[in-house]
């Protein structure tokens, strides 16, 4: 074969091309001539002739002239197919990345799973943050205010209660048209639905006709309410929510004009609300139907504070200005009703989200930490792999690969892992969103769910790309191509880069530190939860069955008939075998739904600045005995406390201490309100019963149900039955007892009192579960992290260990060598974690009960657990290290 290269070089010598340019042209032409020559030979032409024919092809002056003007171009090598464009290359990169991942499925699975956990947790909590805090709940929500009619003492005593407004006061605020564009009211009741199969209790909202427009809700079918629907005498109409329309009318569009029998009264269906309509609910329930606010004369009275009032400011009025204007009207409003009350103004957005906000932010902080840990772990995995791929990279650089090309390849790989992780995380979140929504339901404004939507998707995408990019670029930054070439010249042996090793140690320390912080948070939550469950509730929930009824206000419109009805139920229930005591109460303990109001004590001039406030309870029968409420002095109510007998009352210890001090309340007289004009004699003092486990008991006054006939029809009553056996087994017979009295009576919320208690703390269970989950994940990832680092450490030191053992070192010495390294990392992690914990744990304060954020024993237990976990993770590599055979290692050297 002729030496084409020298022939061509000779031709080009006079051109003085730059070496790289010459190399290019010479190579290209050489290949051309070579192939031409080979073809000619194949045609049977002699070697000499073929050579001269091929060389003749070079003989052209154009060639030299053109070459002088050659475009600048560096010689670059592209792997793979001919003519790869950007997209082809991308395809190649992805293909290659898949192959690389497939080669090391353990690594790929670990990295993808780790990231999926991090991404999934973050996506879930971001979706909460998005619905709770970022997305406006209602249009113009900054102009919406909640107005509360509060006693003057409320502000002074800083009672953290929600107050409602009575109908006359609401009307007078409605008149302040220079401040408010609209003032709307909403209240809730549970009417019974009959005539459509089984009788059932619905959740109904009663709204003023301007409420729906104020909240930006308009019916998707039919019409909304008009002012003429509001008078009590107006023909009754009703709007259906989308859910109710679907479940009861099969989404029939012909539903308009049909009748719904509510509380034995026909209501005309005038419209259906859209699925997206979310009515503000202060009761935390989702409504089935919406009725106009048709106030009955008896409930439209001063003092019956049952309306939740939402005002919309006139445009252009700032909240601060409005506040001033509102305050200036309080006097005028009070004067009209000759009373002294104050107004409390709360921005609606704050009202709806203030409870959920700290929790969501804390959770977001926690998942950010989980993400950091997953990132640290993935970085660790990638670094370990980067070390193993040094040789590959070095070879590719030596072959002429540009740095940018290598970075791109690594980037594709890490993005691929990230995308898989993100997809898996999103899928996992999508699978669990209903569960999560349920878990957090008590802490979120009603109707708000954990939900994947466009912005959540974008958030995840951002995370995926961000994390993928960082991980793609990082390892390549530390692998300088020059250093790589040097490494290749050393024989391409796998050797630790000191920098990478240090980085990995730091990462593991951080992982341990962050998981400690999360574990500590979970520990504190668990401790306060246990404290809470063991708190003195003031009653005994064991072996108590509860259920609620709300007798039809039409059928039992006569209060005496009503009272006779509930008494009859009581008689039948008491007669059941195994029933020890039974009684009615207008609100159950720990259900947090007691109505608060003001009282007057005889002989004390009513002073509006020092109002007597407390929860009002109507009870009957053996309610106290059924609940095992302690009697401190005096007596319980008995069968002689009837409608027409002398009015009596029982106060609890909190009420006695707060308003009677050292005086004995027994024999004193108190005005309970609610229709009884006479002062009632206090006949007993009972122990405090908690309305909420975590809060101090509200001062409470109890009166016999029979002595307040004016209001019984407005209230739902709960029956408490103490049984000798499992309370849920009694449910059937108690139900029958009620239905024997009235077969159409709806019975709801049948549950053991234990369950009621359990539900009341469910809002505390959610953060506990989530933190428990997050910290468990974190500890697991930290264990994997330290496992990886120690494994690598041992692998690197195999020779050293072999040599030491050959020189007489014992297994224990080796054990000490490795364990001291692991110990240093763990100790540093724990120390760092304690600092992080002490800095961050204060944020948890609002979620704790009876536990200080700096709880020594909890922290100690957590530190011990985490260290044990980390040392356990080192077990396998350490075991491997002590099994190193010095002979084998030394022979390999």
């Amino acid at each position: 074969m002729p030496d084409w290269r020298s022939e061509i070089s000779r031709t080009f010598a006079p051109l003085h091309l730059s070496p790289s340019r010459e190399a290019w042209v010479v190579t290209e032409l050489e290949q051309h001539l070579e192939q031409h020559y080979a073809d000619l030979l194949a045609q049977g032409i002699s070697e000499a002739e073929a050579r001269s024919t091929a060389l003749a092809g070079l003989d052209n002056h154009d060639l030299l002239r053109e070459l002088r003007n050659l475009p600048k171009d560096e010689i670059t090598v592209h792997p793979g197919q001919a003519g790869a464009g950007f997209w082809d290359e991308l395809g190649l990169d992805i293909h290659f990345a898949f192959r690389m991942l497939g080669k090391d499925p353990g690594f790929a699975a670990m990295a993808i799973l780790t990231l999926a956990i991090g991404f999934g947790a973050n996506t879930a909590i971001f979706s909460l943050l998005n619905t709770v805090l970022l997305r406006p709940l209602y249009p113009n929500i900054q102009r919406l205010l909640v107005l509360e009619d509060v006693p003057l003492s409320a502000r002074k005593q800083k009672l953290n209660m929600n107050y409602k407004m009575s109908y006359p006061i609401y009307l007078s605020w409605k008149e302040q048209k220079d401040i408010f564009e609209s003032v709307s009211a909403i209240t809730a009741q549970g009417p019974s639905l009959t005539g459509m199969g089984e009788p059932e209790r619905l959740q109904a909202a009663f709204v003023s006709s301007d409420l729906l427009p104020t909240l930006g809700i308009s019916p998707m079918l039919g019409r909304g309410f008009r002012p003429e629907d509001e008078p009590y005498s107006a023909p009754p109409v009703v709007l259906l929510t989308a859910g109710f329309w679907r479940s009861h009318f099969n989404s029939d569009r012909g539903v308009l004009g049909r009748k719904l029998t509510l509380n034995d009264q026909p209501f005309t269906i005038i419209g259906v609300l859209p699925e997206s309509a979310q009515l503000v609910s202060f009761t935390g329930v989702l409504f089935d139907i919406v009725e106009p606010l048709r106030e009955a004369p008896e409930s439209a009275v001063l003092g019956f504070n049952h309306l939740f009032v939402i005002a919309k400011l006139r445009p252009g009025l700032t909240q601060a200005n409005a506040l001033q204007a509102i305050q200036s009207r309080v006097l005028a409003v009070n004067k009209n009703f000759s009373r002294e009350r104050d107004i409390q103004v709360i921005p609606l957005e704050f009202y709806l989200t203030s409870e959920a906000k700290p929790l969501v932010l804390i959770l977001f902080g926690a998942v950010a930490v989980v993400l950091l840990i997953t990132c640290a772990n993935t970085a660790n995995l990638l670094l370990a792999r980067g070390a193993a791929r040094d040789k590959e990279m070095a070879i590719r650089v030596a072959l002429g690969a540009r740095r940018a090309r290598l970075v791109r390849q690594l980037l594709t790989e890490s993005l691929l892992i990230s995308v898989f992780g993100g997809a898996l995380g999103l899928f996992g979140m999508w699978m669990t969103q209903t569960w999560l929504s349920k878990l957090l339901a008590d802490r979120l404004p009603p109707g708000i769910h954990v939900q994947v939507n466009a912005s959540v998707f974008m958030f995840t995408l951002g995370l995926v790309v961000g994390v993928g990019t960082i991980f793609g670029v990082l390892p390549s930054l530390q692998g300088r191509s020059k250093a790589l070439r040097e490494r290749l010249s050393q024989g391409g042996k796998l050797s630790a880069r000191p920098v990478s090793h240090r980085v990995r140690n730091v990462l593991v320390v951080c992982e341990i530190a962050f998981s400690l912080a999360l574990l500590a948070a979970a520990g504190l939550l668990l401790r306060s939860f246990v404290r809470l469950m063991n708190v003195d509730k003031g009653f005994d929930a064991d072996h108590v069955l509860t259920l609620r009824i709300w007798p039809s206000p039409t059928r039992y419109a006569d209060p005496q008939k009503y009272i006779a009805y509930v008494n009859a139920i009581l008689q039948r229930t008491r007669a059941l075998p195994g029933v020890k005591a039974a009684g009615w109460a207008s609100c159950l303990p720990v259900s947090g739904s007691c109505i608060t109001g003001d009282f007057e004590i005889e002989g004390r001039p009513s002073n509006s600045h020092n109002m007597i406030m407390g929860a009002k309870q109507l009870v009957s029968g053996d309610y106290f005995r059924a609940m095992h409420v302690r009697l401190l002095s005096g007596r319980f109510f008995n069968e002689h406390d009837k409608t027409d007998s002398a009015p009596v009352a029982i106060v609890d210890q909190a009420f006695a201490e707060q308003y009677f001090g050292h005086e004995n309340p027994i024999g004193k007289h108190i005005d309970f309100g609610w229709g009884g004009n006479a002062f009632a004699e206090i006949v007993g003092v009972v122990g405090e019963v908690k309305e909420s486990l975590a809060e101090r008991a509200n001062p409470t006054v109890y009166v016999p149900l029979a002595q307040r006939p004016a209001v019984v029809g407005q209230l739902a009553f709960s029956l408490a039955v103490r049984t000798a056996y499992e309370p849920n087994e009694a449910a059937r017979s108690v139900r029958d007892a009620i239905h024997q009295t009235d077969s159409t009576q709806i019975i709801e919320a049948v549950q053991a009192m234990d369950e009621v208690v359990d539900k009341s703390v469910s809002s505390r269970r959610a953060p506990l579960w989530l933190f428990g989950g997050f910290s468990g994940i974190a500890a697991f990832l930290a264990a994997i992290g330290i496992y990886g680092v120690i494994t690598f450490y041992v692998a690197q030191r195999r020779e050293e260990i072999g040599t030491r053992m050959a020189l007489g070192a014992q297994r224990n010495d080796i054990l000490r060598l490795i364990m001291s390294h692991a110990g240093k990392l763990i100790a540093a992690g724990i120390a760092g974690g304690l600092i992080v914990t002490l800095l961050a744990v204060r944020a948890l304060q609002s979620l704790l009960y009876g536990t200080k954020p700096y709880d020594g024993p909890t922290l100690l237990v957590i530190c011990v657990l985490l260290s044990a976990n980390a040392f356990l993770a080192c077990g396998v590599p350490v075991f491997r290290a002590t099994r190193v055979d010095p002979q084998v290692v030394l022979r390999n050297e």
Binding site: W24, H36, N60, D73, T76, G83
Partner: protein, 115 residues
């Protein structure tokens, strides 16, 4: 053949662009294809082909890349760029119009029959 060779100069760029319109080819492949498809009527030697390629590349009509394939030395492959494909489209139109006009005049009603 000589006469045809005179014709080819103006149309050489068109020929090259047409060959690398859909897939990238190296220099020798291009010259070989021109020779084969014209049944030996058209021939480019190295000295006339490469300057053409370099000029086309400089003008941005084609793009050359060094490509490595398994068990082969790296080779320079050329493919038409978007600009090159646009020129090719234009020239194709001009060329067929020209051929049709010439055929009209010299009386061959079907180019295939004339050959």
């Amino acid at each position: 053949m000589t006469k045809l060779n005179e014709l080819k100069k103006g149309s050489a760029e068109l020929l090259i662009l047409a060959l690398i319109e859909l897939r990238a080819r190296h220099g020798y492949e291009i010259s070989k294809l021109i020779e084969q498809r014209s049944a030996g009527e058209l021939k480019f030697n190295a000295a006339s082909l490469y300057p053409l390629l370099y000029r086309l590349e400089q003008r941005g009509c084609i793009e050359g890349r060094w490509v490595e394939k398994a068990n082969q030395r790296r080779r320079r492959y050329y493919r038409a760029t978007a600009a090159g494909r646009k020129i090719l489209r234009q020239q194709r139109g001009v060329w067929s119009a020209f051929v049709a006009a010439v055929n009209q005049i010299i009386g061959a009603d079907y180019a295939g029959l004339a050959l």
